[in-house]
């Protein structure tokens, strides 16, 4: 089967990629704009980067975004992996409905997930408030805070909520592809089930865990709507800050942070890909040697 593509096909693909990247490129270019706008070029300058670092609001939201994404990813990856293993070991009858529920946050529109969590938190806070008042009223040992508000905690919970399904759906297939005999073989050779888990199952599903974690992190960084509804007024992710700014005036500091974000991601992906390519080359060299 020839893998030839006509010039027209290639041109089309290039156009699509240009379409995908033109806005990003423009953002980056105008981050170096001496002027104040995104439309009129007034010369090269690094001013906006300097202003960015001093802008408490934006830096705080960048920090929040990174923190919540990293935390949520780590927690979701661990929890999701265990959950996936749990599901794998279940009978089909039990697993199928649970998997359907698991898929809901992924399939639902962001806004529905955000709204439902928001309502849930509000209801919970209401109940808590009643409970705390009552508890504080009947004893003096422990004083519970009465008013809880949405903030970093609820934001984190929400992110974990929509991250775990991605991890499960990444680890699940790897578990299914795993040769069932491997675990039996390990036990036959003397492993307890805990050891079998560590020495046999984990290495087999590692690629699934890694890709699940990457997906979860991507989804967290990319999120806006769910964060918008669950962060309350005390926490703010980068996306929320930008959204707030677009209602008023936007400065090219946004361009600067976009550029920094883009470059960071590019470098990370480049490193990962180069490492993968090098590993592949090493593997195929070994095969050829044999």
């Amino acid at each position: 089967m020839k893998k030839n593509n006509s010039l027209l096909n290639r041109l089309f693909m290039v156009l699509v990629f240009v379409f995908l990247y033109a806005p990003i490129v423009l953002l980056i270019v105008f981050s170096f704009n001496a002027g104040n706008s995104n439309t009129v070029w007034k010369g090269f300058s690094l001013d906006w980067y300097a202003k960015l670092l001093h802008d408490r609001l934006i830096m705080q939201s960048v920090y929040t975004t990174l923190l919540v994404s990293l935390l949520a990813t780590v927690i979701a990856t661990v929890a999701g992996t265990f959950a996936a293993i749990g599901f794998y070991a279940m009978r089909r009858k039990l697993r199928d409905p649970l998997m359907t529920i698991n898929n809901i946050p992924m399939m639902n529109a962001d806004i529905v997930t955000g709204v439902s969590l928001c309502l849930f938190f509000v209801a919970f806070f209401g109940l808590w408030s009643d409970f705390a008042s009552w508890l504080n009223g009947v004893q003096h040992l422990v004083r519970l805070p009465i008013r809880l508000t949405m903030g970093f905690g609820t934001l984190l919970i929400a992110h974990i909520c929509f991250n775990i399904p991605y991890v499960i759906l990444s680890v699940g297939p790897k578990l299914r592809q795993m040769d069932k005999n491997l675990v039996d073989a390990a036990m036959d050779l003397g492993c307890t089930w805990m050891q079998a888990f560590r020495k046999v199952i984990l290495p087999e599903i590692k690629p699934g865990i890694v890709s699940g974690a990457l997906t979860a992190f991507t989804m967290s960084i990319d999120d806006f709507v769910i964060s918008y509804f669950t962060a309350g007024s005390s926490a703010s992710t980068l996306a929320m800050t930008i959204y707030g700014m677009t209602k008023k005036r936007v400065t090219p500091e946004i361009n600067a942070i976009s550029t920094l974000l883009f470059v960071t991601v590019l470098v990370l992906l480049a490193i990962v890909n180069i490492r993968e390519a090098r590993q592949e080359r090493r593997r195929s060299a070994e095969l050829h040697r044999v």
Partner: protein, 284 residues
């Protein structure tokens, strides 16, 4: 040993009950409650007054999905015929914008589409606006690009195109090559092979892509505010208004959200009938 392992899932099941099932139940409760707390279906009746919003959202989402399909399918197909190096790089390039945040991507279009934005500047420079004025006898300084429905569709296509490409591409790439050779062997030329073998077998990926573009498109609200100017309200704006905006009416908001969930369930059902479950997380 398997039974012991299944206990691993218990914490997560509890989590799901708390943070997935309970919130949805609360939404359902709110949807059927009135402001004073009693049971009512008035909220759904009130939705009728917003029929315009519904049709607008559906219309734009369908257009965006069709455009994504028209662009995404050919791209996936062409990518599948390239060598592995090109494919790997192309995948990275397609995924990369998703790491930049949805809002940044939308924001980047604002400056391009503005009245004296980059596109309009380009049109002025090449004389397109002058030409248009001549032909139609108007006196425009710029084309109104931003704050239109078209801009919203553009924003949706731009943001969700990768979600159309990835599932279709991953299905096509896994097609057994010998099926294509067999079709050739039996007399099918390239066009017929596509029509009778590749197309039908790529349908699960197409359905997956359609769902993953339509659902966020019909429920979007940031895109419509930023690129649509907030004048033409869409479902997402409507919902947001009921919760965090001016018209505080969580019951109505919950009702609309419930309708949204039903739409998603319908999409999921269609997909399950024709596709496979894992195409959702088909990312890597």
């Amino acid at each position: 040993m398997k039974n012991k392992l299944s206990h691993f899932a218990i914490p997560y099941v509890i989590w799901m009950a708390l943070f997935v099932v309970a919130p949805i139940l609360i939404v359902v409760i709110y949807a059927f409650s009135s402001a004073s707390g009693g049971f009512t279906v008035a909220n759904f009746a009130r939705m009728g007054t917003y029929a315009v919003v519904f049709t607008r959202s559906f219309k734009l989402a369908i257009i965006a999905t069709i455009i994504c399909l028209l662009i995404g399918y050919p791209v996936s197909y062409m990518m599948s015929k390239e060598g592995p190096r090109f494919q790997r790089i192309a995948m990275v390039l397609i995924m990369l914008p998703m790491w930049m945040n949805f809002l940044l991507r939308t924001y980047s279009w604002m400056s391009i589409l503005e009245n004296n934005g980059l596109l309009n500047q380009l049109f002025q420079k090449i004389g397109l606006i002058a030409l248009y004025n001549q032909v139609f006898g108007t006196d425009l300084q710029y084309f109104r690009l931003i704050n239109t429905q078209g801009a919203v569709v553009l924003g949706m296509v731009y943001n969700y195109l990768p979600f159309m490409i990835l599932p279709i591409y991953s299905v096509i790439i896994k097609l057994d090559r010998s099926l294509i050779e067999a079709a050739h062997d039996l007399g099918a030329n390239t066009f017929n092979v596509f029509r009778r073998v590749i197309l039908p077998l790529s349908l699960p990926g197409v359905l997956s892509g359609i769902t993953m573009v339509f659902v966020p498109s019909v429920s979007t609200f940031a895109i419509s505010k930023m690129l649509g100017g907030g004048t033409e309200m869409m479902l997402g704006d409507l919902i947001e208004q009921q919760f965090l905006g001016g018209a505080y009416n969580p019951q109505l908001g919950a009702a609309i959200s419930l309708v949204m969930m039903v739409i998603v369930v319908v999409c999921m059902w269609v997909m399950n009938r024709f596709g496979e479950g894992e195409e959702q997380a088909v990312m890597m």
